[in-house]
Amino acid sequence: MHKKQSRDLLLFILGGVVLYFLSGMVDELRVYQGASIAVYVIAISSIILLTGYSGQVSLGHGALMAVGAYAAAVARIELQAPIILCFAIAVLAAAIGGALLGAAAARLSGPYLAGTTLALAIGLPSLANQFSVLGGEQGLLFDVGFPPLSLGEEFTQYKWFFWIAALAALISMWAVKNILSSRYGRTWRAIRGNEVAAQLSGINIARSKILAFTISAGIAGLAGALLSMTIGTVSPSAFPLALSFSLLTGAVLSGITTLGGAMIGAVVLVAIPEVADAVANRIGSSERVTTNLPGFLVSALLILTVLFVPNGPVEQHRARKAKKKNYLS
């Protein structure tokens, strides 16, 4: 076990080094997209933890991301807090929100939970208009500042975003991976498998579920703060219902129980608008087709994945290989 852990750590560090060199070789747009991918990886891993492991559905993670983003922006503007502290506050604020939501969620199951979180995703961002400190429809500026001069003159703003986001993604993936293989992760899987049996073996169901929601929300809050960093502002329109749906799509595409697959979902989510653009240009369609094609593709992909690769491509591949092996032996 110990050996495996240090091997994983090495892999994560190696991944970081590769990303570092890659970011120097591609143009600005790709660097920006890289930052978006990193943000999505974090957000998707929070859904995988919650839905894939603890078996709870949340359609409201967009709203929890908004909580994190607003907390970070307010801390930045009102307290002039350093960036790292802003992100920590984002995690904390969203985790508190998640704990409250989790307390409600522990009493609900299946469609009741899905609908409650759906109502939250629609309702919460509009609440920002009620408080002047949150800047209403225009939102707040969230400026993490210029990259430090010691990184050189050539170092662009987007590259700085990418670095922050990629580092955060590596750290949070590492954290989630460890949480999932800890006793909490096993507890969640036990509950997902059979709630009654889990309860009989002495697991406090409600507490474990609330814990899963809290941790997942904290991670989502971090993703929200990073997302608003790349946009530069925090406003209700940055966290539409479509965002919550995209995250779920990303998680399903990744394989709802495959943390390592989070990258697949994130890349697809970032690539889809571009693919849609290319397709729309090729067939030379009107503007209203072009603007709606990405949404159409995301949703169609979501349906197809659930129908034909319900456990995700990685898991599917693994299952097929296992079947083949059984067949041969």
Binding site: A104, G115, N292, S299, N311
Partner: protein, 301 residues
Amino acid sequence: MDFLNTLLIGITAGSIYSLMAISMVLVWRSTRVVNFAQAGMALLSTYFGFEAVTRLGSFWIALPVAMVGGALVAALVEMILIRLLVKHSSSGPIAGVAPIIATLGLLGVIRASTSMIWGGQDVRIVGPVSNDGYTINGTTLVFSPLKLLILLTVLVLMLILSLVFQKTNIGLALRASAYSPEIARLSGIKVDWVRTLGWALAGAAGAVAGMFQTVNGNGTLSPDSIEFSLLLVSGFIAAVIGGLDSLIGAVIGGLVLGLMISFVLMYISSGLFFIAPFVILLLVLFIRPQGIFGAKAARRA
């Protein structure tokens, strides 16, 4: 006068939410799926209704057109999507969330396709009667002939639906399949077709809700309009308040929700448009997690 206005607005909006909740309940009873695409299907049927109104000029022809269109779409969705879903994804860690994800995907597909076909233009449906309020003793109410008509139509539809459920063989088959698919099948009911029928009825009810929601609002129709987000959330919340399993519960849930939203907007703040339903939902679920008319045991679906 404010009080009376608020009450009447709440009842009218509530009756539309009731219809939407009924369609959620019908789907839930027939396939144990909460259809998050119900509002999307209602949107699509309302566009069918719009095409009929512009071509044929009459709201009263457009309404049945929308209903039949909605019923057909819903039946197709059940026959293709839901049957495939049951076949492919009813085991493993995805089983619990697969129907939710699939219907959400459907919602997205419908939203995007309607925007591609009808988006970006001013689409209006003119109601059959005026939406200007009645005047009593010199004061003008918000309550209008149109709102009265909506209330009456919803009432008539509910009566027909309850007669179908209580007095006909089809209603019996629907109830039996919801109660226990196995036993229904053993007594010779074609459960698969009854399920499709349940979806079709739900599609028709949703179509009426969509048409009325549009004319009761400002008459314009758009895939991204607030009216349809509200229909999506309220239909679900009303159904959950009522307990998801009960048609009476859906009606009462819708009315309670409509009234509560109306009073909150009037007496507390009009900015609470979307957060009010959420708070109401949480309150109900904290007191009774299975809804007011729900079965005793918590559902695990």
